[in-house]
Symmetry: C2
Subunit: 283 residues, 2 copies
Amino acid sequence: MLRMEQIARVMPSGLTPIQRKVLDHILKHSEQVVFLTATDLARQLNVSDTSIVRLAQALGYEGYPGLKRRMRELVQPRLSTVERLGETVRKVESVDDVLSNVLLCDMNNLRKTAEDIDPEVFSLVVDVLEEAKRVFVIALRSTHCLAVFMASALRFLGREVILLTPGTGEMWEQLRDIGSGDVIVGFSFPRYTKITVQVMAFARERNARVVAITDGDLSPLASSAHYMMTVPYEIDSFVESFTAALSLVNALVTGLAFRRQADTIKILQGMEDAWAREGIYWE
Amino acid sequence: MLRMEQIARVMPSGLTPIQRKVLDHILKHSEQVVFLTATDLARQLNVSDTSIVRLAQALGYEGYPGLKRRMRELVQPRLSTVERLGETVRKVESVDDVLSNVLLCDMNNLRKTAEDIDPEVFSLVVDVLEEAKRVFVIALRSTHCLAVFMASALRFLGREVILLTPGTGEMWEQLRDIGSGDVIVGFSFPRYTKITVQVMAFARERNARVVAITDGDLSPLASSAHYMMTVPYEIDSFVESFTAALSLVNALVTGLAFRRQADTIKILQGMEDAWAREGIYWE
DNA sequence: GTGTTTCTGCAGAATATTCTGCAATATAAC
DNA sequence: GTTATATTGCAGAATATTCTGCAGAAACAC
């Protein structure tokens, strides 16, 4: 999808109905139109090649070839990106194929995530994280790494985070005073752990804001969540991968850092000093 | 990069030197050539348009337009993929841009990983993990999530894993009897934590196999490592992302599962039973 | 309804692109 | 070194693409 301003060299005072129709089609299908001749495009839209040429001229070009050149400039860079992305998914026949295959599937999962997540919801969740008094994070079993990451990233930004850790028996104590003003972020993928579902429902009852990162609208987290974000988590329908989820968490945290740029820099500064004193890092 | 078989309609018995040069250029730069006329391409390569036409004919096409059409068929699907992926990397101007930007950067990081990791080394590391008596895993601070994931995935496959946890003071105790037959996998990215570096060096002294997953050959882990795998970890040169590293760990674990398919299925079966008894999962 | 203006497509002119015969040059064979 | 063969590019023919004048159709004003 291109934007009008990108291909109009002069703002046309007024376009005729057919010209508008053609322009609309060009903007929406630039990746196909960029390969067509004026005549081809005309035939596709049931108009005359004349109309195509006149539109190009109305937009400030010498003629159709000029417009085509411009489309090419806009479309080609994207092509080289994928070009280098490279390779198709091959059948896994030996351990050597596993590496490229997993990486490729994960790339695809990221692509799907980009397509599926509603930017509106994303933005709202960043808001919610920003305004929250405290952030609770829960993810059990193999997804636990996501919670660990999110907790450490949010702490890094100076948020007060409570990483729910089951097994030690203190989890319900940690949740004791959760309530309005707090946010809980929960991760769960098939087969969903019962505790996560229960904790999310409990948090909702206590009027905390509930954010669910899960695999689809049929997830048992759906009924408790104020905000849902779904990410694909499968590789080859057998192994599971939380790569896309991790990237999403990363985006959330980055969005938050972006909102509070000034604060973030200040916090970072403070930490640098502390680290230097403690000698945490290797020289 | 296209492959010869994709654009040759008949296998040409023999190509002339100039034809080979042109064909090579077409295969390597299909995403640019697809937009050029025979004359343009000829000028770029300092040959005559005639040679271009003759090559097209030698490959079994009517003429150059036929070859061009074929290139288009091969190149266009990739374009629409990215088209839908949504825009090229834009400058981040608002929170809305963060999501697509982070996902895109992570995709790029995965691509780089696929290009950089030596399949030989990958395969060797899978071997080492398979044969190890015990697997120690260490990753501190924000990378800790990687260790958490790797540990849980390996346990899932029935390996004996020791997740090194600093802060509780027991870490050196956990390491007490590390020795030959054991493997240690360590993660560290700038700024490298001192403890990780020390632990890796210690493990090496004790004759454990040392696998380092880090950001480059200059990493302080390099001197202790028997096997090194490097992954990019930066987004926009400010935020860090462990997405590529996570995907690599995933690949390692999947490779291991692939090697021991039979065992893996058996273990899985056993776990299913236990889970059902304990009611861990939500119905 | 009538006159005016705008819009559209056809037909052919203008231009751009591709194709082919031929001659010049390079390469290989002996 | 000579001859035979293959390779290449030039020039102009053939074809494809784009552009423009004009006429008919549609929209609008009154």
